[in-house]
């Protein structure tokens, strides 16, 4: 059998980035087997190099002529490229963060990296999956790796408990998602490719059968679990609090981005018949997320839990872009996720630094940090301010774009809720900054008083510093110099044929809606 001919037929070149990740993963695994303990000096850097190579491969995939691969199972259009890029980038920044953390806890670094890269792989395939089986397998790869990562600190009962909760809720959501998928399979008369399902559904009837609505809700349950939307969010604070912090960083960005990629692809291709319904459901989800995420974050005392609720709220903001369904809406989603990547990872790097030095996670322990560690204070302040949406940082521009897209499309209520809750969010971000910066020397917490001096030459501290600085720079500048990111986000939407059709339909629907409103208004006369 001619392997290369088969590969060409299947268009295997589309998964070159994933292939690179697999090769890196295997190299790290084998290298650690052979090298033993000493391998932890080079395995992380190999992983970073491999991930970087994957990004380069992704760049080459940007405008391929035929994105469909594996007989319609994988689609590497511009949308998938950008989301895969986000996931790889988040892994690439998570690896340096985790070196010191994992070393200090005494567990094996190589295994951590392997599982992390497996999760990355799962997320990447999920972003491009165009067929039900692929979607499910990729989703499960991502999820199961995440459960393992969450429970990585075997000796820590909190990590165990977090992993258990994550697994139970995750498995339940997967089961529900799978049930919905099976209904889709049935409704479409045996098709598993998304485009074929859509075609079959459209051909069968123009009216939405109840089965489709049920399938829709079940599928949304699975997606909402991944993106931590209220009321499917209950696992997020517990898991974020209990997991090792680098894992939380990856989950909050990479896993969420994969969830959003799945949401866009699945909902837009398969469910145009019930688009009103899923818009309605997501509106409810978005409002609940924004409100609950921000309001409950006010009452938190643990930094990681605070960031968990904040990420729930941020997901709410991103959902606004999904709901409006215009080109600006999708582009603003992508832009926001790009920006969110840097500010969230930067924030988590600072949290890691602090917990490595003091071993605690309580916000009140951050008092007076400014005197002892200005770099960390600066980094955390900038990332938190960016999360809150303060200009001229990147978060402001992200939020601005989303709200503008929402306003332009007429989703006034959503944007208003978003604005109000943004204001609420600024309170808890600034509370942390206030703790760090404003407190007098005599009000320093005990942890800060006993703050150990900086020793940057310990293994793994330099990479931490590097990732902190990278995230800081990106957060500060990505707003002002946002043009390249902006064009990237826009192009990813315009170059995706899947979305073009959806946007056109949405625009037509909005026009006809206004027309009907006008006719209704004129008619009574």
């Amino acid at each position: 059998m001619d392997f290369s001919a088969l590969a060409a037929q299947l268009n295997a070149g589309a998964i070159l980035p994933e292939g690179i990740v697999i090769i890196t993963l295997i190299t790290v695994l084998v290298g650690d087997l052979i090298g033993g303990r000493a391998s932890s000096r080079w395995t992380p850097y190999l992983a970073i190099a491999g991930l970087f190579a994957a990004i380069v491969a992704l760049v080459y995939q940007w405008d391929t002529a035929n994105p469909i691969a594996f007989l319609g199972g994988f689609n590497s259009d511009a949308l998938s490229v950008v989301f895969r890029g986000i996931i790889v980038l988040s892994a690439m920044i998570t690896v340096p963060m985790s070196i010191r953390y994992v070393e200090q806890s005494g567990t094996s670094l190589a295994e951590f990296i392997v599982i992390l890269m497996t999760a990355t792989l799962g997320g990447m395939v999920l972003s491009g999956a165009d067929e039900l089986v692929t979607i499910f397998v990729a989703l499960e790869t991502l999820s199961i790796s995440s459960y393992l990562l969450t429970g990585y600190m075997k000796r820590d009962p909190r990590s165990n408990e977090a992993a258990l909760k994550y697994l139970l809720i995750g498995a339940a959501s997967s089961a529900i998602f799978l049930y919905g998928v099976s209904l889709l399979y049935g409704l479409s008369g045996g098709q598993t490719r998304l485009s074929a399902i859509a075609a079959q559904l459209a051909a069968d009837s123009s009216d939405a059968p109840i089965g489709l609505v049920v399938a829709l809700v079940f599928v949304i349950a699975g997606i909402a679990f991944k993106i931590a939307a209220v009321p499917f969010h209950q696992w997020t604070p517990d898991v974020y609090e209990g997991s090792p912090t680098p894992v939380v960083a990856f989950l909050s960005v990479g896993s969420k981005a994969a969830g959003f990629a799945l949401a866009i692809r699945l909902l837009v291709s398969v469910f145009p018949l019930v688009s009103e319904q899923w818009h309605f459901v997501f509106t409810a989800l978005a409002i609940l997320s924004m409100v609950l995420g921000n309001v409950v974050a006010l009452a938190q005392t643990s930094m990681k839990r605070l960031l968990a609720y904040s990420s729930i709220a941020q997901a709410g903001f991103v959902m606004i872009g999904l709901i409006v369904g215009t080109e600006a809406g999708y582009a603003s989603m992508v832009f926001y996720l790009l920006v969110y990547l840097f500010m969230n990872l930067g924030g988590f790097t600072c949290v890691i630094l602090f917990s490595l030095r003091t071993g605690t996670d309580q916000i009140s322990e951050y008092s007076g940090l400014y005197q002892k560690d200005p770099l960390l204070t600066l980094g955390l302040s900038i990332c938190l301010l960016s999360l809150g949406g303060i200009p001229p940082l990147a978060g402001f521009f992200g939020k601005l774009y989303i709200f503008w897209a929402g306003w332009q499309a007429g989703a006034y209520g959503l944007v208003l809720v978003g604005l109000i809750t943004s204001v609420i969010s600024i309170y808890y971000y600034i509370r942390v900054i206030k703790m760090m910066v404003v407190k007098e020397p005599q009000e320093m917490s005990d942890s800060v008083k006993n703050y150990p001096p900086m020793r940057w030459n310990l293994p793994g501290m330099r990479p931490l510093q590097v990732s902190l600085v990278v995230a800081l720079v990106a957060t500060s500048l990505a707003g002002i110099l946002s043009n390249p990111l902006f064009t990237l986000a826009n192009d990813s939407i315009t170059h995706t044929p899947l979305l073009k059709a959806a946007i056109a339909e949405q625009a037509a629907a909005m026009v006809s809606h206004t027309e009907t409103v006008e006719t209704i208004a004129i008619a009574p006369q």
Partner: protein, 692 residues
């Protein structure tokens, strides 16, 4: 000629050169204040030469304009957003070039004078930098091509005035005076801003002629009611009302005399206060189309002229007397603009600038001399009751002061006669009542000016008279709130007598003439005070030919002016000279020959005397109504803000926090509860989606 064109291209240097001087000296003061404060002479020379250069450039521009060069405008786009564009630049036309010459010459001479006057003052260098900054702002104002840019420089000029009035900021009266000037001018500037924006909203432009044309169009086509257009124009007029010390926003000008005399001469006599009249001249295309507005302007000017003169007759402080005189003369200028005598008003602006500056500088010279005798106490050094007979000791000052007095009284052939007469002539044609007010005021002017001259320079020198000194000090303390007299428990009362016998604080028994740095400008200014009037004589009116309202063709003016009537001239001129002579005679009788007793007359008309002495009680009225009133209002509003507004905001925050604390208990840590919520939500959503 290309060289002439080059001058126009560099015309922007005229305001920039003094600005550079101010910037360099100012930066030096901020950064290396010790060094700069000792470099007094070099700083003065530097700034004076920059102003001199600006003056030369102004003269060149003026001559070019006189020879008929057309109006030169240069604009750059400053800000634009779509249809909306703001342009800045400069324009040199006849009026601008004339104003440039006036401002630079007076500024130059005042700067030379300052070297003598402020020689012993520690703030010498700071004063020069402020002077330079002011000159630059004023020069920028007069070459501004549109109302927006005028407003910018208007505010700058106001700020410089504030800095200079409060120059000796350690003295409470000075600090109060500069605040009063600022706040009063703010009221006027606010009106100007509102009017400016309203006119922009109506006409879409800040250019003067365009505004005028479009406004007329709107009024005739009915797009804008005449009343509304008049309101807009009057709002704009509020700016000149404040800046040129017209009633009711005149209250700052007498208090502004707390500043050093050079700036009283420069700012509050010759240039800044004239900026108001200048703006009215620039806004002429808008105003002249609205008869209501012209009436308001004319009557404001007339009333101010009368009021200023009526207060000046009882003032004892030489500078305050001159201040009220300035107010009165500004009233004349405004009245002239109001009746449409554009050229006459601006002519009087020019003549007044020169002779009033000279009068103020002369008063400064007098004060300088008096300080040698009675010490650096303004209550003593500036009071005319302590002066007298200074002509023997300060002849140059006395002669120039006399020239200025004759000029202001309107005695031919001095400058003031020609300009004032033209104003009165034009006013008579429009309204005899207005003319009567102006005519009476001319007589009062002559009276109080000669009263000043005689009290200061003639008679016996009273500076060493201890009784008068004690009485003046007592008045000063009473004004500051102490209670004196039998039974008063004020310790100052005891020291008054002691001080009177004390010799410290003065160096000599008689005053001396001022140094050449001070007398040279006096003499230099005497020349235009005498001669410049001849530029605008009715029989050969070069001034009118040069300065005319925009839109009026020169030929039409020449026709109108050509019909010169000797009899009309003699009647008008004669009547104004006549009433002037009556005033002078009264002054002679009361203050020179002592045939009439001033205090007896004052007792006979006691209420009127008190009204005049207390400046018509306007300061007191303003204090009660505005100062106390706004404080009470502010207190009430504060109550509302603290109770209601703050309360609402705090309530919102409290509610959010409480709901956060409450909702967090939804996460009770039990995984099966979470799973239950998930399934419940799915069920709920299915039902909801299925039903809708």
């Amino acid at each position: 000629m290309e060289s002439i064109e080059a001058i126009y291209e560099y015309a922007w240097l005229v305001p920039v050169l003094p600005l550079v001087g101010a910037a360099i000296v100012g930066t030096g003061l901020i950064s290396y204040s010790q060094t700069t404060s000792t470099l007094r002479r070099p700083a003065a020379v530097f700034i004076v030469s920059l102003t001199g250069a600006a003056m030369v450039l102004s003269f060149l521009l003026f001559f070019s304009q006189v020879q008929g060069h057309e109006t030169y405008t240069r604009m750059i786009e400053w800000a634009s957003a779509g249809d909306f564009r703001i342009t800045m630049g400069y324009t040199i036309d006849h009026l601008a070039s004339l104003m440039l010459v006036i401002v630079t010459t007076v500024a130059f001479l005042v700067m030379v004078y300052t070297d003598g006057y402020m020689a012993h003052d520690p703030g010498y260098v700071r004063f020069y930098s402020y002077l330079s900054l002011f000159s630059s702002s004023m020069l920028g104002l007069v070459i501004s091509p549109n109302l927006l840019q005028v407003y910018v420089f208007w505010e700058l000029v106001g700020m410089c005035s504030y800095l200079l009035i409060g120059f000796w900021y350690g003295r409470k009266p000075a600090a109060d005076a500069c605040q009063k000037a600022f706040v009063t001018n703010r009221v006027g500037d606010f009106g100007l801003l509102l009017g400016m924006l309203a006119l922009f909203w109506a006409t879409g432009s800040f250019e003067f002629e365009v505004m005028g044309d479009r406004l007329t169009e709107l009024v005739t086509t009915g797009g804008l009611t005449t009343g509304l257009a008049a309101i807009f124009a009057i709002l704009v007029f509020l700016g000149p009302v404040a800046k040129s010390a017209q009633f009711p926003l005149h209250v700052w000008l007498p208090d502004a005399m707390e500043g050093p005399t050079p700036i009283s001469a420069l700012i509050h006599a010759a240039t800044m206060v004239a900026a108001g009249v200048f703006l009215v001249a620039r806004m002429f295309p808008v105003f002249e189309q609205l008869p209501t507005v012209m009436t308001v302007v004319a009557w404001t000017g007339a009333f101010t002229a009368f009021m200023g003169a009526s207060i000046a007759i009882t003032q004892n402080d030489i500078k305050k007397g001159l201040a009220y005189s300035t107010m009165s003369q500004l009233g004349y200028m405004v009245m002239a603009m109001g009746v449409g005598a554009y050229g006459a008003g601006l002519f009087h602006l020019m003549t007044h600038a020169y002779f009033k500056a000279m009068l103020f500088l002369g008063s400064g010279s007098v004060i300088h001399g008096m300080e040698e005798v009675v010490g650096h106490n303004p209550a003593l050094a500036q009071d005319m009751r302590l002066m007298g007979g200074l002509r023997k000791y300060m002849p140059i000052t006395a002669t120039t002061f006399l020239i200025g007095t004759l000029a202001i009284c309107g005695i031919p052939p001095f400058a003031g006669f020609w300009s004032k007469d033209e104003i009165l002539g034009s006013t008579f044609e429009v309204s005899p009542v207005l003319w009567a007010v102006g005519w009476l005021t001319a007589g009062i002017t002559a009276f109080y000016m000669f009263r000043m001259y005689f009290s200061t320079f003639e008679g016996e020198f009273r500076g060493t008279n201890k009784e008068i000194q004690i009485q003046l000090k007592r008045e000063q303390l009473m004004a500051m709130g102490a209670s004196l007299g039998p039974g008063a428990m004020n310790s100052k009362e005891l020291t008054l007598d002691a001080e009177a016998h004390d010799d410290h604080g003065h160096h000599s028994e008689v005053p001396h003439e001022s140094p050449i740095a001070m007398t040279f400008p006096l003499m230099a200014l005497a020349v235009p005070s005498v001669l410049i009037g001849l530029l605008g004589t009715p029989f050969a009116n070069y001034f009118e030919a040069f300065i005319h309202p925009p839109g009026e063709a020169v030929e039409a003016l020449a026709e109108a002016g050509g019909a010169f009537d000797w009899s009309e001239f003699l009647i008008m001129g004669g009547s104004s000279v006549g009433i002037g002579l009556i005033g002078i005679t009264l002054a002679v009788m009361m203050y020179r020959t002592r045939q009439l007793d001033p205090s007896a007359i004052a007792d006979r008309i006691k209420p009127l005397y008190q009204l005049s002495k207390n400046k018509w009680y306007i300061d007191e009225i303003y204090d009660v109504v505005f100062v106390q009133g706004s404080r009470k209002l502010a207190k009430q509003v504060l109550e509302i803000d603290v109770r209601i507004v703050d309360g609402l905001v705090n309530l919102a925050g409290f509610v959010t926090l409480v709901s956060g604390e409450g909702l967090k208990y939804l996460e009770n840590g039990r995984a099966q509860f979470y799973a239950l919520i998930v399934f419940g939500a799915v069920l709920g959503l299915v039902l909801l989606s299925g039903i809708t």
